[in-house]
């Protein structure tokens, strides 16, 4: 057998091993379980899915979609533990509102109402709490939702890090389009709605531990307006929308390739990244494709609708920097490939639990 044939045989074996359900081997939670990569996935499947298993939860999409009294609803929740609480371009408050609004929006739902629960550490300044709440109110108003219920808990000093926020949200599906990572087909186009990595880099630098200064601000924003514009332009040509939060664009593309059984081929040159973000990533040795955004989405649309989707996104203030970054193909299924700016080819894999700082 030639070396190439032997290598292909090994690669097929590795691919089969990757299809197998990962086993949770750890006896304790490690920081890797919160990084949004494979370790997080394994923890969710082995503990939560195992305990709660039901058809609505099982797809593990950003929100569950179900019928109630003749309407189709989307329902989601998210916790926020970002440190620092305040950073250029936003704070934990607007992050918590926008994150939940976005999880509903990318399911195709119109966000209606949110809940907000606070875990506060003894000694936390009321002034900061007012600031966070004001920012949540502004974000809710701008997304056209109301915060209609909530909860407050206080724990002793040292038992929490200032303030954690949990939001949940309900949205209404007003069309019968089914969006999801499993609906992508060969020939579809992959778009991002703007420059990637702004939020993650902003928060990492705002922690002040790296000694790097750069003119970047978080991209936190509600995506419901942008989704509406896109849907109005290409309707059922939209296959899948995801907001590129923890794990970044790379993680979403892998979910798509895996769930739809397609190859996703990305052109590195086409991926919009601000120079300051790119520079910081070069210095830190991280890939912007893995850095979190809080107001950007990945949109996969029918290949024929790519240009009209792009034009629609660019017509909205939050989509001015949108770009077509790649295409779905048939082979090799399940892989995300990058055509590097240098002219080579490599894989974009799922992030393996690197201990990155808390960014959301």
């Amino acid at each position: 057998m030639t070396e190439t044939a032997r290598e292909r045989q090994v690669l097929d074996r590795v691919d089969r091993a990757r299809q197998r359900k990962a086993r949770l081997r750890e006896e304790h939670v490690t920081m890797a379980h919160g990084a949004g990569g494979k370790a997080t996935q394994t923890l969710i499947e082995a503990v939560f899915l195992d305990a709660f298993r039901n058809p609505l939860l099982e797809p593990l999409e950003d929100a569950a979609v179900f019928g109630a009294g003749g309407a189709r609803l989307a329902f989601t929740t998210d916790s926020y533990v970002v440190s620092p609480l305040f950073f250029p371009g936003g704070d934990i408050g607007d992050l918590a509102v926008n994150g939940t609004v976005n999880d509903l929006s990318v399911c195709g739902a119109r966000p209606l109402h949110l809940s907000a629960a606070f875990v506060l550490e003894e000694g936390f300044p009321i002034e900061d709490l007012r600031r966070i709440s004001a920012s949540m109110a502004r974000a809710a108003a701008s997304a056209g939702v109301s915060i209609v219920t909530g909860d407050t808990k206080v724990v002793q000093r040292g038992k929490a890090d200032g303030c954690y926020v949990t939001t949940a949200g309900v949205g209404l599906l007003e069309h019968d389009a089914r969006l999801g990572v499993a609906h992508v087909r060969p020939g579809d186009a992959v778009l991002v709605s703007g420059p990637i990595g702004d939020h993650g880099v902003t928060v990492m630098l705002a922690r002040g531990e790296l000694g790097i200064e750069a003119d970047v601000t978080s991209d936190t924003a509600p995506l419901n307006g942008l989704v509406a514009v896109l849907r109005a332009a290409v309707g059922n040509g939209v296959r899948c929308l995801r907001d590129a939060t923890r794990g970044g664009v790379a993680t979403i593309l892998n979910e798509i390739a895996g769930a739809s059984g397609v190859a996703v081929v990305v052109e590195e040159d086409a991926v919009p990244v601000r120079p300051a973000v790119r520079g910081a990533c070069e210095l830190l040795g991280i890939d912007p494709l893995y850095v979190a955004c809080e107001g950007r989405m990945v949109a996969v649309v029918d290949g024929d609708a790519a240009e009209s989707a792009l034009a629609a996104l660019r017509s909205h203030p939050l989509g001015e920097g949108a770009a077509i970054i790649g295409r779905a193909g048939a082979d090799p299924p399940g892989l995300v490939l990058l055509k590097t700016a240098f002219g080579g080819t490599r894989i974009i894999d799922v992030l393996v639990g690197d201990p990155l700082p808390r960014i959301c």
Binding site: T4, R6, E7, R8, V10, L11, R13, V14, A17, R18, A22, R25, E26, E27, H28, V29, T30, M31, A32, G37, K38, A39, T42, E209, L210, A263, V265, P275, R278, G279, E282, G285, G329, A330, D331, P332, L335, L337, L338, T340, A341, F342, G343, G344, T345, R346, I347, D349, V352, G353, D354, P355
Partner: protein, 374 residues
Amino acid sequence: MRFVDEYRDADKARALSARIASLCEPGRAYQFMEVCGGHTHTIYKHGLEDYLPETVTMVHGPGCPVCVIPMGRVDDAIRIAEEPDVIMTSFGDMTRVPGGRGSFLDAAARGADIRMVYSPLDALKIARANPDRRVVFMAIGFETTAPSTAMTVLRAAAEDVRNFSVFCNHVRVIPAIQAILDSPGLRLDGFIGPGHVSTVIGCRPYEFIAGEYGKPLVVAGFEPLDILQSVYMLLLQLAEGRSEVENQYARVVPWAGNARALRAIGEVMEPRPSFEWRGLGFIAHSALRIREKYAAYDAERLFAVPGVRVADPKACQCGEVLKGVLKPWECKVFGTACTPETPIGTCMVSSEGACAAYYNFGRFSRQRVREATR
């Protein structure tokens, strides 16, 4: 972006690629080892192999600091970290390296206070901020990082910080290359020399490789065009029948190295008689320890370091991979039992490890992708 894009220019890469192909003798296979894990990372991250003829193979060497740490040293460090008043500090890569009793991440989950730092100076800062705790820096790396460890010890001594120490695992690149040159069954045509190490030690220490062993060596930078040009320079030497040390990375690497950095290392550290390398075994004079004069900053002296020796797992073939005898995918457990999320061997941990780089970036059949995009 300036200072980056010009070293990633696809047009220049295509031109170099053509010149590389024209230098290859028909029917001859070439094997070049890039010693440094940073080069391995660049090769895979930019897909550089697409520019090399099939007869030119890059062999990934032992220059990934995390990959060569033996499991026993990880266990020793965890024992130190588990002392109730200790804060262990470490580079991020190191936190996932498995010892016999799990990794730093596992020890942290069990209750040890282990913190990620970007520089030993950050560890010193933590020591100043926590005067009632003992802060230990897990020092790893080649001559590249040894100067910053040495400078930190000097600063701690100057400021009389008493609660800071270093668990020193610094290793030296020359004895490792020599061990590889002396290992049986290895056929290499030349070396891509480590760029960052050479900013400290300079180019002279490599001269015996070109002289006594007759293998050309080109010290290279870390951008993809640097490496491609270095491959071209190696092939040119072979075509012209030369065997020399050349410096492709002259924009950063001075021929004589960095005298101040070498002085700092020499002041604080001295070679160990012998040190164990993961997969390569004991290599004489291959590592550094803290000198007696700075004993107050030497964690090995301050703590009861058990000096654990843990045999590498039987299935693990890291040694063969580090020596370049096996390609990552030729290891029996590659990608099945040993993956980046549950690594058995260290080569699968750091993004500079040959197995992790191949798994994360190169785990696909180029032939199949060519067929699919045809």
